[in-house]
Symmetry: C2
């Protein structure tokens, strides 16, 4: 194998292990053994576990960010629901590693790790704005989108801790949560109210936004 | 000064400095100088900057957790609003230190630091349940409360980054966000619907929950 090919193979093997168990618990010996090479050879390609962890996290970050891409077609609620489904696919595939990272894993405090997590959040933010048809977000919209992204992270973490609620329910709930947070903001701000109107105007009667509104109306009465 | 008295003084001086600037940027020399003692004497009481940082964070955590205590009297919305106001007081007083900690500060990855942050989240969670009159939370209620706590953290962090929205608006918004997240959950779950009814049944017409409902109704029409 060439150098780059071997590096990519090691990253794949490490990511697989870091995804299934907390990265703290995965040793270089284990990575070497899973890759079918010697421990010194691993160190030939990566100076230490942290650099291999960072490389694996970089690949996972790019993978997750790529799942946010969604065609600008059809109703917004359905688009958002498809993205949430892919987000939970990712969380499901990388559960223990995702938890360890987001709860303060072995490399937290590493500026590389923080920058990677931030780059994924930023990719999610940019995608959301593009689907909302906004280029420059006013402060209240920025707050709604960024705080909803953090809500999606914490919802996924709570789900991983025991999986006591079916994930499909949480995917839909996060779509609804976005509408709810936007509505709270719209209740006090005319720009947000305008944006909310644009958001829901093309929603079909059987879409997630209309369904939520219907259920809330019947709950209120 | 006695040993314990001197330790407490140093913690106070350090917390003050860590609150005003990112803890990364605060040196032991500066702490010594602010406390009016020599650098070696600081090391006599604390083996290094990390242990002093952890002691300061412990004091700040206890301070924040104590601000969640709220008498179980009067409407829930008003109680929650008072707690949010005290939470933003704390965030305001400790801005740069709070940001650095929550975004991955110098001691993140330290298990002591993570445990302190988790203890504050747990204190907030326990307080919320007690105000909701619940001892054992079912999974959907736990999710709503814990994810709302993380929403409060991220809202505070976004506020600190430029303070572009008045904090009083955000304090009220977080009370509304809690009601909104509970309502989304209640739309699909009968237990949550029952809890939501209990939550709002004693709310006055001029309380935050009723005001939000009124505004949302007029927005929808």
């Amino acid at each position: 194998m060439g150098v780059e090919e071997r590096r990519q193979q090691l990253i794949g093997v490490a990511l697989e292990l870091f995804s299934r168990r907390s990265p703290d618990e995965v040793s270089i010996d284990e990575i070497a053994s899973a890759a079918g090479i010697s421990r010194p050879l691993v160190y030939h390609y990566f100076p230490g576990k942290l650099s291999l962890y960072e490389a694996a996290l970089k690949r996972a970050s790019e993978d997750l960010a790529s799942r946010f891409a969604e065609p600008h077609e059809g109703p917004l609620g359905a688009r958002l629901l498809r993205v949430m489904c892919r987000f939970f696919d990712f969380v499901d595939e990388h559960g223990p590693g995702f938890s360890a990272l987001m709860r303060g894993g072995p490399a937290v405090g590493s500026s590389t790790t923080n920058a990677l997590v931030d780059s994924v959040r930023q990719a999610a933010y940019v995608q959301m704005l593009s689907h909302l048809g906004v280029t420059e977000a006013p402060p209240r919209l920025e707050l709604v989108v960024r705080s909803w992204i953090s809500l999606a992270e914490s919802t996924a973490l709570i789900w991983l801790d025991g999986r006591r609620i079916p994930r499909a329910e949480l995917e839909l709930q996060l779509v609804h949560d976005f509408a709810a947070l936007a509505a709270v903001s719209a209740a006090y701000d005319t720009d947000m109210a305008e944006l909310l109107r644009t958001m829901v105007k093309d929603e079909p009667a059987d879409g997630p936004f209309a369904e939520l509104a219907g259920r809330l109306m019947s709950l209120a009465s």
